[in-house]
Amino acid sequence: MSATFVMLAVLTVVSAVAVMLLRNLVHCALALAVTFAGLAGIYLQLNAQFVGFAQLLVYVGAVAILIVFAILLTRGREPPLQSVFSGSAIVGFGIAIVVFAVLATMTLSSRALGMEKPGEANASVAQIGEQLMTRYILPLEVAGLLLTVALIGAVIIAMRDKEPE
């Protein structure tokens, strides 16, 4: 149990760091896919089958591919010779470290950590489906509407403009 978690966590964090440090965009996208897959593994290890497989389908299957397509469509003509980081890299690093320190101290010192219920959570797919179909039926419909709107909106935004005559 603990070895699986450590391996998955290290894989996820290392590939996330790689996404932010690599120079080649395609390598970034591939590292991002590895991060998503590692997260899906952590979800499965947390006994959350539904979320784990949804993560695999949506992120590894769709989002990573979409990002690769966007990279293909926005390939610049000249390879960027300057650094991949903007001038504020030091400041950004400092901000990230400070945010990490604050979040970690606050979270680890909070009293909510000691109140876990020891029972084995058994969130089966059937239970989640039942919840979605009864208690969360309205948000589910709204989510469907949102997806439709986003689909149409994305097509309209990315459609090539007609040249004015």
Partner: protein, 101 residues
């Protein structure tokens, strides 16, 4: 050593900060975008961990809705980046200074 809620939360915070770092320092809009996705995923991980350790289904349902909204955001965001590239021939954040005074 048993793995508890705090370990998952630390991994989640690390992912969030790596994403934040990328959003602040990278030049390319697509990589900034990947950083945003990382931050969303970090929040999801925290929710799933809380759901598991508190024996409560609501966290996982919430993650389902977050994944849905993130998918919509991916579609619109990437369409915006592609449209921008078509108009300005660049995806570098520093070249997009039209709003600067």
């Amino acid at each position: 050593m048993t793995i508890g809620l705090n370990h998952y939360l630390v991994v989640s915070i690390m992912l969030f900060c790596v994403g934040l770092f990328g959003v602040i320092v990278r030049r390319n809009l697509l990589v900034i975008y990947m950083g945003l996705e990382l931050m969303l995923n970090a929040a999801n991980l925290a929710l799933v961990a809380f759901s598991r350790f508190n024996d409560n289904l609501d966290g996982q349902v919430f993650v389902f809705f977050i994944i849905t909204v993130a998918a919509a955001e991916v579609a619109v965001g990437l369409a915006l980046i592609v449209a921008l590239y078509r108009k300005r021939q660049t995806v570098h954040a520093e070249d997009l200074t039209t709003l600067r005074l």
